[in-house]
Each structure stands twice: as C-alpha cells, then as structure tokens.
C-alpha cells in the first residue's frame, strides 16, 4: 500500500501527477517501464482526456490516480492529499475498461452497490434517474449476463456517477459501443458533466470523443508512456453535436491524429 504523504506541499491542483513513473516487474524477472515521468496537473472541475497508442500506459496512469497502483517514482496528490484517502471516503467514481459488474446482482443492484459499500441509504430515485440517463430504463432487473457489452459499460458509468464523486476516472467507457450509440452517449455525458462539473480524467482512443468532451487533450507516446502533446480545447460549453462539423474541430483533430502517428508524420 502506498505510504501517506504527510507533507504534500499545498497546490491549487485537483489532481497533481508529479513526475510519476511506473515500472512493473514481470514474472520472468525483467522490468517493464509502463510510464516514464509523466507530469500532469488537472484543475478542479476540469475535464482532461488522455490519448495514446495501445499499451502506452493510459490505464496505468488512471490506476495510479485511483491508488490501485503505487508510483515507482514521483508522487500523486488529489486535493493535496493521498489518493487513497479519497477512495476511503467514497468520493471517487471509476468506470473500468472491463466494466467489472457483479454477475449475481441485477442492473439496479449493481448501480446501488456504492451506497451499500459506503453504508449509506439507497436513493432509489437517483438510481432511476441515472438509469434513464444512460438509456437503460426497463432493464432494472436484468442481469449483466443478459446485457450487451455496450449496455454493461453504461451500467458501469451509472455506477461511477451514483455517489456524486469529486473525481471521475473513465477508462475507455465507450470502447464497446457502436458509433451511433457512442455519439449519443458522448452528448449525454457532456450534459451530465455540465451539470456537476466533476474533475474528470478520460482515457480514450477516439480523437473526436476527446475533443468533444474535454477541456484539455493530452497525447502520450508509445511505451514507455510520456506526454508528447497537450492541447486546450477552445469550444464553448454546453457543446452541441454540430461543433464536430466545424473547421476548427477538424483542424484540431488532424493535429491530434498527427501527434498520435509520429512515424507517419516523419515519413511524409
């Protein structure tokens, strides 16, 4: 477990990823550098998207922020405190890449799980609202095994939001969705986020999704992961889907795509 950091210096950042590196020791004794000195500051109420090739350490960064891994070098603070204290106070919302629903609970009870774990009374009204928000009205009593992959991910997003977390971590939450549902979910997430302005870190493979949702887009290099580009997204909120058809959106998208494919850029 990570040791508490008693003398973290006071910073204005909601999430402070301070020169963090992560090295895994593999079963055969070799070490693998998953993340190489990433330095990233996220303001309170800011929405940051993380882009990068597969295996570059995006999920690892998210897990470090969630205190599921300890950094090998550097340190992470959330509101000037150890990230572990945030999850201990049930103030962290996470949607994992592989949904992690409990197979024996119905959709409704999966979403209610954070209440039970926190020892709070279950707010059935809020569950019903969120179910509507993620488009799963009528599936309250279904089991995860009866849902499609995309539906399971939506349950997992509703579960991440249920306790009104202070920090929201999303790991490719729409990865398993078809393009149409994905765009619809993006609009919905943008709307939900606009209401509560939760400090959020989103991992995604989609340049368009990152631009549409985030205030800032970070591009990482292939392994070992390093930040190679950071772009502030200028679009006004609330954003309408039409923004994705503007010239500015397209030119930003091209810029990000180029940053994601440095080899091709160099070749051309």
């Amino acid at each position: 477990m990570s040791a508490p950091h008693p003398q973290v210096s006071s910073t204005p950042w909601a999430i402070d990823i301070d020169h963090v590196g992560k090295v895994f020791t593999l079963d055969n004794g070799e070490s693998l550098v998953a993340v190489d000195t990433v330095d990233l500051k996220i303001e309170k109420g800011e929405f940051v998207a993380l882009l990068g090739p597969s295996g570059c350490g995006k999920s690892t960064i998210l897990r470090l922020v969630a205190a599921l891994e300890d950094p090998t070098t550097g340190r992470i603070a959330i509101e000037n405190r150890d990230p572990l204290s945030l999850s201990r106070q049930h103030r962290l919302g996470v949607a994992f890449q592989d949904h992690a629903l409990l197979p024996w609970l119905s959709v409704k009870n999966n979403i209610a799980l954070p209440y039970k774990v926190a020892g709070r009374p279950v707010d059935h009204e809020r569950i019903a609202d969120l179910l509507g928000l993620v488009g799963l009205k009528g599936f309250e009593n279904a089991r995860p095994s009866q849902l499609s992959g995309g539906m399971r991910q939506r349950v997992s997003i509703a579960r991440a939001l249920i306790l009104n977390p202070d920090v929201l971590l999303l790991d490719e939450p729409f990865g398993a969705l078809d393009a149409v549902t994905r765009r619809h979910m993006n609009v919905e997430l943008q709307r939900i986020w606009g209401e509560e302005r939760i400090t959020s870190l989103l991992v995604t493979h989609s340049v368009e999704e990152a631009l549409f949702l985030a205030d800032r887009v970070i591009v990482m290099s292939g392994r070992p992961g390093r930040v190679v580009k950071s772009i502030a997204v200028p679009f006004e909120r609330p954003r309408r889907p039409e923004v994705q058809r503007t010239a500015e959106f397209h030119s930003l998208a091209d810029e990000l795509t180029l940053a994601l494919e440095p080899e091709e850029a160099a070749a051309s």
Binding site: T25, L26, D27, N28, G29
Partner: protein
C-alpha cells in the same frame, strides 16, 4: 519473480507446518489420552506398523486390496473413456448416458453389493465398486474435456473438410487430455473407497477386512495402521497424478 517466489515459499512453509502440527497433535492426543483409549499415539501406530513379525500380514492385505484398486481403476478408466467417446460421436445417446452416470454415482455402493456378490463373487465386489466409482469421475471429466476444443478450431477443421473421425482424433482428443488427467487424479481416492467398501461386505482378504475385524475386536493399533496404509497409498498415488497433471497442463495448454 522475487515476490512470487516468496509467496510460494510461504505457502510451502505453512503447509509443512500444518502437516507437522497435525502429526504432533495426533501424538499428543494419544500420549495424554485426550480422546480416550481408542486414540493411539502416532509413534505407537508406526511402531506397530513396522514391527517385522507383522510385515507378512500387512503385505498380504496390501496385495489383495491394491490389486482390486488397480484393476477397478483400469477398468473404470477404460469404460469411462470409451463411453465418453461413444456419446461424443453419437450425440443423441448423451443425455441418457449422463443420467445413467449420475444415477450410478448417486446409488450408495452398499446397495449394489448384493447384486455384485450374486453376479460376480465376494472377492471381486470391491473391484466392481471401484470400477463404478472411477467410471463416473472419468466419464464426467472426459465428456466435458471433449467439448473444450474451441469454436475457432472446430470451424477451422470444418473449413478444411476434416471428417468427424479425423476431427475427433486430432482435435477433440488432445483438447480433452488435460481434463482427463485431472479426472484420473480425482478417480484415485474414488477407487480406494470402492475397494475398501467392497471388502467390508464379506471379503476374506484385504485392508478393508483388517479394518472391520480390528474395529470389532478392539485391536486399536491394527485398526489405525490399516487406515494409515490405505490413506498413505491413496495420497501417494494422488500426488503422483498431480505431478503428471502439472506436466500435461504445461504441455497441452
């Protein structure tokens, strides 16, 4: 690497510690008569067991019992594999065979003893019960193993136009092998149970007979010795099969 090795080492130390504690407890309970006069010290049982004048008695009993165990094991293994292969090739037979196997498993062997005594003889009843027990374990393991070849591989064989027999020989059989070996491991105690039960129903030889007559005549060290021999033999065979299982899993998966 370091971390995993340390975990394994801890497991090993604790496991050995547990077995050691168990043996010490056995000795202490016997020494202080904590469980009465019918719980002998471990050292007394071992001394009784290795007393030279009794070697003949134990060796004869072991010969009789273990030959029943081995014969029942091999027969059950062959029948189990054959039936599993049969219902795999002729699929409509499968529900009936499944049901038959689970009914056979649910029947208490004691209820079958009179039939075997009439049909065969008292001496081989143990073998017959062992055969049934082993058959059940092997049948269940093999049928589920035969179904474990992946969809993709099966499609591949269909695309290259392999015959059913061909697919069975070069895809389903190797895929079933790990499950079969696991079944063979769990069939070992089942075979011992069958042989011992059979001997309780009137065999004139074997470890089972020793146990019952020692129980009735208050020959406590003899009773515990016979149980210890049967348990140790089963455990050793089980351990050997576990090693084979580990090898097979490494090779076929």
């Amino acid at each position: 690497m370091m971390k995993i090795d340390r975990e394994k080492a801890t497991d090993l130390v604790l496991g050995v510690l547990g077995i050691g504690l168990f043996l010490v407890l056995w000795e202490v309970i016997g020494a202080y008569r904590l469980a009465g006069l019918t719980w002998p010290k471990l050292s007394d049982v071992l001394a009784f067991l290795f007393e030279p004048s009794r070697q003949g008695l134990f060796l004869r009993a072991m010969g009789a019992s273990f030959s029943m165990v081995a014969a029942g094991y091999v027969l059950g293994l062959v029948i189990g594999i054959a039936m599993a292969a049969l219902v795999h090739v002729i699929n409509p037979l499968r529900p009936g065979m499944d049901r038959f196997a689970s009914v056979v498993n649910a029947i208490p062997p004691i209820a079958l003893a009179p039939i075997f005594i009439v049909l065969l003889s008292r001496e081989v009843t143990g073998m017959a019960i062992a055969t049934l027990n082993v058959f059940f374990v092997i049948y269940v393991a093999t049928t589920s193993g035969l179904q474990s070849s992946t969809r993709g591989h099966r499609d591949l064989f269909a695309v290259i136009g392999a015959s059913k027999i061909r697919r069975f020989m070069s895809l389903d059989m190797p895929a079933a092998f790990p499950a079969l070996v696991s079944g063979m491991k769990y069939a070992i105690p089942a075979a011992f149970i069958g042989a011992i039960l059979g001997e309780w129903f009137g065999s004139s030889r074997g470890l089972g007979l020793l146990m019952v007559s020692a129980m009735q005549n208050f020959q406590i060290p003899l009773l515990w010795s016979a149980v210890l021999i049967a348990s140790t033999a089963s455990l050793l065979a089980f351990g050997a099969m576990s090693l084979l299982e580990r090898f097979v899993y490494g090779r076929f998966r």
